[in-house]
Amino acid sequence: MQRVITVSLNRNAYHLELDAHARLEAYLARAAARLEAYPDRMEVIADLEQAVADQCARRLQPGQTVITLAELAPALEEIGEVEVPGAPGPLPSDDPGAAYRATPSPENALQQISEGAWVSGVCNGLARSSGLDVTLLRVIAVVLLVFTGGAMMLLYAVLMLLIPYAPLASNAAPLPWLPAKSREIVTAIRSKLATLTG
């Protein structure tokens, strides 16, 4: 069973599965970033939203009401990345948190983000919800680690246990060893705690 998110594309409601929603959100965030200095950006984004809606609607099977990645991915492929006329177009950064931060939404709640994480995704998640650069936060964390020794490690461990994990995108590449292991350990400890207290 997949949870479904309802979004408004150019003021019409569409249902998307979670992973399709994440992909669309990232696409629109990239479009918005490229159009940042563009006077009519809201209008262009409305046009693009309509294009996404049309392309997905065309791909839905009769009776199918939820858009999945199977419809969304080829739709976005056909629409293509936004290119601003006359400008070579700033490329979106490789920072995996950027797509999240570019769309301020209630989903900016503090979560650990495993994709692109170094250890467990605490800094990655703090970066998303605070809007600060993830590299800056990591530098601060490492400096604190050097100067406070165990205290910073303890703080990280506590945050790791307390902050919930953001759901993984189902189409994402497998996590590197350390984030995968951290996630596994934290999840195991949490379920242990839950059985102990529950």
């Binding site: 150019n10 019409n12 479009a31 159009l35 563009y38 006077p39 009519d40 209008e43 262009v44 046009d47 693009l48 309509q50 294009a51 809606a53 049309d54 609607a57 056909e78 629409i79 293509g80 990345e81 936004v82 290119e83 601003v84 006329p85 006359g86």
Partner: protein, 113 residues
């Protein structure tokens, strides 16, 4: 895409606006129709490129659009040239034939030594 078509990408990019103006000048069109007409040419493009371009042309007051009902889904934007757009397209057409003549002329008589 072959290396040749990649190499000529700046030329295509520079001419896309001209071609879009020509298409919009020939009839009142909506975006899927523009894409369809370009699709079989060297200038095949995508909505991600076309919408920002049309929006720029509209801001430059060269094209305008009107909403038309569609049989399926919400109303569509149909684009056409403004008077300024028609004048601009005419001067572009002129300029383009001048360029063509220049290119032809410069290459024609093989240099005699």
């Amino acid at each position: 895409m072959s290396t040749d078509t990649l190499k000529f990408a700046p030329i295509r990019k520079g001419l896309l606006e001209f071609l879009v103006l020509r298409i919009v000048g020939s009839e009142c069109v909506y975006v899927p129709e523009i894409l369809r007409r370009l699709a079989s040419t060297q200038f095949a493009t995508q909505e991600g490129t076309l919408y920002p371009l049309l929006s720029k042309l509209r801001r430059d007051a060269l094209v305008q659009y009107e909403w038309r009902e569609s049989e399926s889904g919400p109303p569509r934007k149909y684009y056409r040239l403004t008077d300024a757009g028609r004048a601009y397209l005419a001067s572009l057409n002129d300029y383009w034939s001048q360029i063509n003549r220049t290119i032809e002329d410069l290459g024609r008589p093989p240099c005699s030594e």
